[in-house]
Symmetry: C2
Subunit: 224 residues, 2 copies
């Protein structure tokens, strides 16, 4: 695929086969492709169309190593708790093995994208927080979908950002820019494929919470 060519995958196929791909090959990714993906990320909406975003494309081994250390530290705590909570849930352990792989091989991932918002997010009021995160995560989702359509492996993680102070220091970010999400990118070792989700009628209410009006009418289909 030429990197300048538009991504042609039908949108529904991209959404249905998007999944976190954590085991990545160390092979490099063309800069033009990375910029193409981020350009599509910028097409997402942002509050008041302010486009207050900043993307850091990390390829330098030294910066990667710093993010890897931050990720490993958070995972050493969070992963331990997670494994205990997972108990005998096979699927959770499979996910955690992939996260472990990612933590162990973080330095070998060819490109780490850090999505940031040019704002300090106040803890209050909640409207400010949802408005601010709502101005960066739609673009992150565009990036993930575009990566999927391009055949690149990607995942959305936040553990390397457990300390905003240390994350800002690793990336040379001023205090008024907040890193929000980390997206490791690389050619996948594994494969994309359909995901399983709760049936839509179980998470949709009509008019008021708890009114599961669509439970009866919804037919099981190949889609769900």
């Amino acid at each position: 695929m030429k990197h300048s060519e538009p991504l042609q995958m039908p949108i529904e196929e991209a959404m249905r086969t998007q999944r976190a791909i954590r085991r990545l090959k160390p092979d490099p990714i063309d800069d033009a492709l990375i910029l193409h993906l981020i350009e599509l990320a910028l097409k997402a909406p942002s509050g008041s169309n302010a486009q207050n975003w900043e993307f850091i494309v990390v390829k330098d081994p030294q910066v990667k190593a710093k993010l890897a250390r931050l990720n490993r530290f958070a995972w050493s705590i969070y992963g331990g708790i997670g494994r205990r909570l997972a108990g005998s849930d096979e699927r959770m352990h499979k996910i955690m093995n992939a996260v472990q792989w990612q933590a162990d091989h973080f330095e070998e991932i060819p490109v780490i994208v850090v999505a940031c918002i040019k704002a300090i997010i106040p803890p209050w009021p909640p409207l400010a927080a949802t408005g601010t995160y709502g101005s960066i995560y739609p673009s992150v989702q565009n990036l993930l979908l575009a990566a999927r359509a391009a055949g690149l492996g990607a995942a959305l993680i936040t553990l390397p950002l457990w300390s905003l102070f240390l994350a800002r220091r690793a990336l040379g970010l001023p205090w008024r820019i907040t890193p929000c999400a980390v997206i490791p990118l690389g050619w996948p070792k594994g494969r994309y494929g359909p995901t399983t989700r709760r049936p839509v009628a179980e998470v949709v209410s009509l008019d008021r919470y708890g009114n599961r009006a669509f439970l009866a009418s919804s037919q099981p289909s190949a889609r769900s």
Copy 2:
């Protein structure tokens, strides 16, 4: 278009032509189509794959009226400030006219979707906030893209949620569920079309913030 048919629009076309469509016709939308869009929303990633989302599909005029009042109240304050800040910026005034139209005609919008997360979002640490909002906004973006591919008008707004207490009361939400985003849906009066964005090389840094390494190499293209 049959509502059970997969959405076929190429992903890049959907992303490049997605924009907030606020002027909507009052014509009804088929329930099956709404569920189809939300089903695709559920395909987005969520933290630890917890899928802690809840979607309220509001069609009842009484509930709509409550959200309309909340929206109008916030807009009466925010819009006044906005108009003063916009000065003579034509584009901002065009956006604000559309938001004003939306506020004036809120009750006529056929469907209002409220995306919620089954969590109380703690003001601290930031990792909890970004992880939680990062578990709902990717699905909101899927919903917006799917709406665009289906030819439905949509926008992402948060003003009706300025008071979580009143928003929860309007929607019958328990306190442990947080409404995060509101998406008015309807058949568009206007048209979708390409959006303008800042050039990608201006918002991307290599390795450390401020290193605009791609500024020189990036060629102006039809894409940007």
